[in-house]
Amino acid sequence: MHVFIINGSPRIKSQSNTDKILEQFTKGMSENGTSFEQYEVSDRKQWDDMRKAFAENKNILIALPLYVECIPGLLIEFLETVEPKTDDSRIAFILQGGFAEGIQLRCGEEYLKILAGKLGCAYAGTLVKGNNFSIRFVEGAERDKITVPYGEMGREYAAKGDFSSEKCKKFTGPEVFPAPIRLLVGILFKTAAKTGLNKIAEGWGCTRPLDYKPYS
């Protein structure tokens, strides 16, 4: 199998969490000899080649970050310019987001089913996973903890050509967190997480409190 992959993130490749996810995913996917070509929607210079590859390939995979409950505006802009397929192409998606619970991604997932049809492709499923916000802020073992599990999903996809397996469905994790966990995580949000974010901001040269209100 040869797979045409689009990273649908508007973030440049070096900063993109989707890219780090794809790195591990494609590593696992390639193990059985599956080949791939990967493009970035964030780089408009690639759009002509992407349109061509979209027309030529039958196994399409779009990996994308959830943007306000659906797909990013920039990815829509690109897809508005492709010719819907009329062959027996299949499209699968990796939908990843910042919020941690599965339920946060379901609205986006629902659209991807619609999108497959609009693009003239059979729907080969969506791998759904949240809690990816921090990928680009961490390195080494901390990053691996989040991204390496996608390798196994790459192997699943290479074996079946879709994301229909139980393993892929389970990969999402809990739809919502149970109340005691919410209580605990809620405390973390007000303490350690806040400190961590303030530290990142400081490193970026931020001189204002993160809840600063420039327009009031």
């Binding site: 993130s9 508007p10 973030r11 440049i12 900063q15 993109s16 964030s42 970050p65 943007y67 306000v68 409950e69 659906c70 797909i71 990013p72 505006g73 920039l74 829509i76 802009e77 897809l79 508005e80 919020f99 941690a100 619970e101 339920i103 946060q104 609205c107 629902e110 659209y111 619609i114 999108l115 049809g117 609009k118 693009l119 919502v176 967190f177 109340a179 919410r182 995580v185 809620g186 949000f189 997480a193 806040k194 974010l197 990142i200 901001a201 970026w204 040269g205 931020c206 204002r208 409190p209 993160l210 809840d211 600063y212 209100k213 420039p214 327009y215 009031s216």
Partner: protein
């Protein structure tokens, strides 16, 4: 104030709205984006972590966000593509992020961002073309929830009367 952001190049919709709202005595502010420069969101996160509340892209979107914060309602008029909003319509929502802070909390059983402003802007949507209407309704409600707002509903070009009936203060 009712803020109306028309991302289509069809001004007949806003002309109609202007007239109806004048008749009703509703204070409306109409923005036509076809003559404005509005980029997509590039996901830099500067609005959360470097220049809190301010977008790094210095284009005309700032005009919209400044008004949105003080509006009672925001209506976006959008063309559709691939069953959903076209990119111009969706960009208006993607660029909203500066109104939220990076901080998180739970609302009910789900995570949300702590809002930057005390605002009560309800969100309505008017579309042209042929989207998957049921999906669009669901999305608008979910999007509004995400920003701790309320959906005013989703209306087609031929349902402007119904939309106007929701545009009151």
């Amino acid at each position: 104030m009712v803020l109306i952001v028309n991302t289509t190049s069809d001004h007949s919709i806003t002309d109609e709205l202007k007239n109806s709202l004048q008749d009703k005595g509703v204070d409306a502010d109409i923005i036509e984006t076809d003559s404005m420069r509005i980029s997509h969101c590039i996901g830099c996160n500067f609005c959360w972590l470097k220049t809190p509340g301010e977008c790094s892209i210095k284009d005309d979107y700032e005009i919209i966000i400044k008004k949105m914060i003080h509006a009672d309602q925001m209506w976006v008029i959008s063309d559709t593509a691939l069953g959903f909003l076209d990119h111009k319509g969706k960009n208006i929502y993607d660029r909203i992020l500066p109104i939220a802070t990076m901080y998180l909390k739970f609302v009910g059983d789900q995570m949300r961002h702590v809002p930057r402003y005390k605002m009560n802007t309800e969100m309505g949507l008017i579309y042209t073309g042929e989207p998957e209407v049921e999906y669009l309704k669901k999305w608008n409600a979910r999007m509004a929830l995400n920003f701790e707002s309320k959906s005013l509903g989703v209306f087609g070009r031929d349902e402007l009367k119904e939309a106007v009936s929701c545009m009151c203060l």
